[in-house]
């Protein structure tokens, strides 16, 4: 690749793998714990959210550094910028998914409490 600017940090692929691993482990843990105790599921989700927020901030930091680098604008630079933004979107997606799990889990618990259909 003929990059006009060089990124000092994790590559987009590495970041994507790390984020996907955290997201999958987080989603399975939270989903599993929702069947045991919602409170612990919430704490676990919060923990994974923190890890994902750090990853997201790191990725966004790279994106801003890339776009504000002098000489940015070549075809390869733009492609790299898009790749990092896709990773950022994926991390955000995982964060929202964990929060959605907890929220829907809360509704399910309310259903059980009020003697619903379960």
């Amino acid at each position: 690749m003929m990059l006009a600017v060089e990124v000092q940090g994790l590559s987009a692929t590495a970041l994507a793998y790390v984020a996907a691993a955290v997201a999958v482990i987080g989603a399975i843990s939270v989903y599993g714990l929702l069947h045991v105790d919602r409170r612990w599921a919430s704490y676990t989700a919060f923990l994974f959210e923190v890890v994902l927020v750090v990853l997201f901030a790191y990725t966004v930091n790279i994106i801003f550094a890339l776009y504000s680098a002098p000489g940015f604008g070549s075809f390869e630079d733009i492609k790299l910028g898009v790749t990092y933004q896709r990773v950022a979107a994926g991390i955000l997606s995982a964060m929202l998914f964990l929060a959605a799990l907890v929220s829907i889990g809360y509704y399910m618990e309310l259903q059980k409490r009020s003697g619903g259909h379960e």
Binding site: S68, A89, G90, L96, L101, V102, Y106, Y107, L110, H117
Partner: protein, 407 residues
Amino acid sequence: MRALVRLWELIIERFHLKEFLEHPVPRYANLNPLYWIGDVAAMSLFVLAITGFALALLYTPGLSLTKTPPDPLMPGHHGKEVYDATQSYSSVYKITYLTPLGFILRQIHLWSAYTMVFAVFAHFFTKFILGSYKRRGGGALWLLGVSLGFLTINQTVLGYILPLHLDGILAIQIGLNLFRYFDYFGIPVGQLVLSALGSLFVTDQVIKMIYVLHILVVPAIMFVLLGLKINGILYGGVSPPPIKDEELRRKAMEEKEPFYPHRFALTVGQLLLQLSVILLLVAMTPLPLLEPWVPGQQVPAGVRPPWPVMWYYTYVKMIDPFISVGLPIFLVLFALVVPLLDRKGGVSIEERWIWVTVAIVYIAIIGYGTVLGFLVDVPKELTPLTRISVPPDYSVPYIGTPQAVGP
């Protein structure tokens, strides 16, 4: 924590939110996913408004030509060429590829638009099958819903025109051609629209009008209609469950939960899940910016519209224009009169199987056109199987291309 709880209680008390938050919602509506689809459409509208606001700040409509680099997401585009493109295209290019996080912003806007269109279609057919318009006040909600659906498709087409890529120009051609249909009946709607646009071809003024319609006029009407719809649901309740047994239906309708925290938790979860899916689509299948259009350029063969209007495009190409061009008008008009025609009987599926069949035919018309549009590259030579022919004269666009005057 105690202070936060006190603050929350204070907000509820001082803003008089208690009555709203605790209004009863039937439990079957919370448990049945068929009752969530309207929420998905409404949430998409809010996401579109927020992302659209940011995009509107960065977008500049205009036809003046600028040199624009190639689209990195388009297959076959390489770094060497530079294209001539309009200011509109160039500004969307800048938002998408030269602004940090602009790519995510535009992709969320696009995917939310598609989500909304899909949810609107699904919500329409769900309510059609459930016979929601049969309850008291249901007809008014149905009328609002059909109007909102019509405006949603309008918004999609208007938004699709704005980047002024080749597909957008195809959209303006097909869209304006629809107005010409009224001329068959001696109603000069097409001429009226052209007079309003003030031009036979795309100009700065035309694109500015489309921009204003897309970001201001249509959304304003949509939000007013949506407000009326939410108000109607809040005070008139949701559709009854499709149960034939009177006793069971009454029992299901009496089983209620407060909106807060029950439905609230579910709605928040649904919104987060929806956004999560949209962002996953952004990450996995980003949509390219497509080929730029240059004023005067004809739309080449092979350029096809996106899926929400693909069915219409297919029918315009394959059926006699007298039937096909006005098909959306007939579908909307028919949808509007459905509550007047379907008045008797209950709401269970077995009691109203005729109307369920009509709904299925409705789905089949749109579904068949969409699938066929993707399978067959329209236009192509006449074949006995698909009866696809070259576009008839009727589908020649109103908007032509500017002719050079003088030497």
